[in-house]
């Protein structure tokens, strides 16, 4: 029979190693360290079409991630999509006339929100609203528009 002290030592090592592994999964593998937004604030924006934007998609300013999309819903009065984003509290000097557009990382990659700062001296506050927005580019719409343009060009029928 193994000594009692030794047994307790082994159990302690086991529990500590397990908790350490859990911490590694949280901080090294997961995004708990990066995802912790310190005293963040949320702003809203309305889009005609959000394409494939999903909750937790990144919000970037000049390519740098400054927040995440926290929820997406529909405004029942005008049928537009309301996107709420949680921005990092360190970036609290974003002008109110900033525009938001839905962009795609790479050709077929994940969609994210890119912010384009305006020139106003007033800053967005918690619960603020971004007025100028640009919807996502939906590939089918672009293709159909392109085909429509080609077909409507004079001389397109004779070949």
């Amino acid at each position: 029979m193994i000594q009692r002290r030794q047994l307790e030592l082994w159990v302690g090592v086991f529990v500590a190693a397990g908790l350490l592994a859990l911490a590694m999964l949280a901080f090294r593998v997961g995004n708990l360290a990066a995802g912790a937004v310190t005293n963040g604030y949320s702003v809203q924006a309305e889009f005609n079409d959000i394409g494939g934007l999903k909750v937790r998609a990144p919000v970037t300013l000049a390519g740098v991630r400054i927040g995440r999309v926290s929820s997406i819903s529909i405004d029942p009065s005008n049928y537009e999509a309301v996107v709420t984003m949680e921005l990092d509290g360190r970036y609290n000097n974003i002008p109110v006339d900033t525009s938001a557009s839905i962009l795609t990382a790479g050709l077929l990659g994940e969609q994210y929100i890119g912010l384009d700062p305006g020139g106003s001296s007033q800053y967005l506050k918690n619960g603020g609203r971004i007025q100028v927005t640009q919807s996502a580019l939906v590939l089918e719409k672009i293709i159909s528009q392109f085909l429509f343009n080609v077909a409507s060009k004079p001389g397109a029928e004779k070949k």
């Binding site: 193994i2 047994l7 159990v11 397990g18 592994a21 999964l25 593998v29 997961g30 995004n31 990066a34």
Partner: protein
């Protein structure tokens, strides 16, 4: 007519067994409340159930991670996405393979040992002897084992996933030349703590409850002969593996949309 009767008998027996198992679980759970004063019993069982399972979990985790690295690289490099290897390895481990493979190994290594131990205690009338001495065997023998299983399983699954990620990194970065920065940064941007890591932990806790429950119940209910104990051990491994796989499907369908 006779086969129909046997089918009915089988269904009735199964339902009765389920009911007995549920009542047994309630009894053990109420017995577990008294363990706060006898925590050394639990520590002893964590050693038997957790620490002794550690080696097989670590070795399997390392190899599963390394194989994931090799296979993932082969497929991903066809699409020019070898940088996403870290994400692939981490997500498959944290969400599915970590909890499920750990639970299967746990059932084979610790569950079978629990059943055999309790079954033998019953066969040699140690449990009856305890009752004679006014010691409740459910509180003294069964409850510490169940609690130890529930404590050990999530820790083992976390260790499996963590060492699997390291194994994937060993093969991906060390052997196949994936960029180390891309490996970790893609992983961190794609793996969410709340949705992936935490759901994996919830899964492993549920598996811990189910596997240990099946193991102690089968041991406690085993026919007290050497053949009965061997059958009970066999049933523990089969039932808990099936339960783990079925529950995993249900939980995955509920958790990840």
């Amino acid at each position: 007519m006779n086969s129909l009767r046997r089918l009915g008998q089988y269904v009735l027996d199964s339902v009765e067994g389920l009911g007995r198992a549920s009542l047994f679980f309630l009894e053990v759970a109420s017995g577990a409340r008294k363990l706060i004063r006898r925590f050394d019993l639990v520590v002893q069982q964590v050693f038997a159930v957790g620490v002794l399972t550690l080696l097989i979990i670590l070795v399997s985790g390392l190899f599963v991670g390394m194989v994931l690295g090799l296979q993932g690289y082969n497929t991903l490099s066809k699409f020019g996405a070898a940088d996403s290897l870290g994400l692939l390895v981490a997500l498959s481990l944290v969400r599915e393979l970590g909890p499920v493979v750990t639970a299967l190994l746990f059932a084979g290594r610790a569950g079978s040992a629990l059943t055999a131990e309790i079954g033998l205690m019953k066969a040699t009338e140690q449990l009856a002897g305890m009752e004679m001495m006014a010691v409740n065997p459910v509180e003294r023998v069964i409850a510490p084992r169940l609690v130890a299983g529930i404590i050990s399983m999530p820790l083992l699954a976390a260790l499996f996933s963590a060492i699997g990620v390291l194994g994937g990194q060993l093969v991906g970065v060390g052997l196949l030349g994936v960029d180390s920065g891309a490996f970790w940064s893609q992983m961190q941007s794609g793996v969410s703590f709340h949705e992936d890591v935490l759901n994996g932990v919830i899964k492993s806790v549920v598996f811990g409850v189910v596997v240990t429950w099946i193991a102690v119940f089968q041991g406690y209910e085993s026919v007290p002969t050497s053949e009965g104990v061997s059958r009970a051990t066999n049933r523990t491994v089969v039932y808990s593996s099936l339960a783990v796989l079925a529950l995993d499907f249900v939980m995955t369908a509920l958790m990840f949309k």
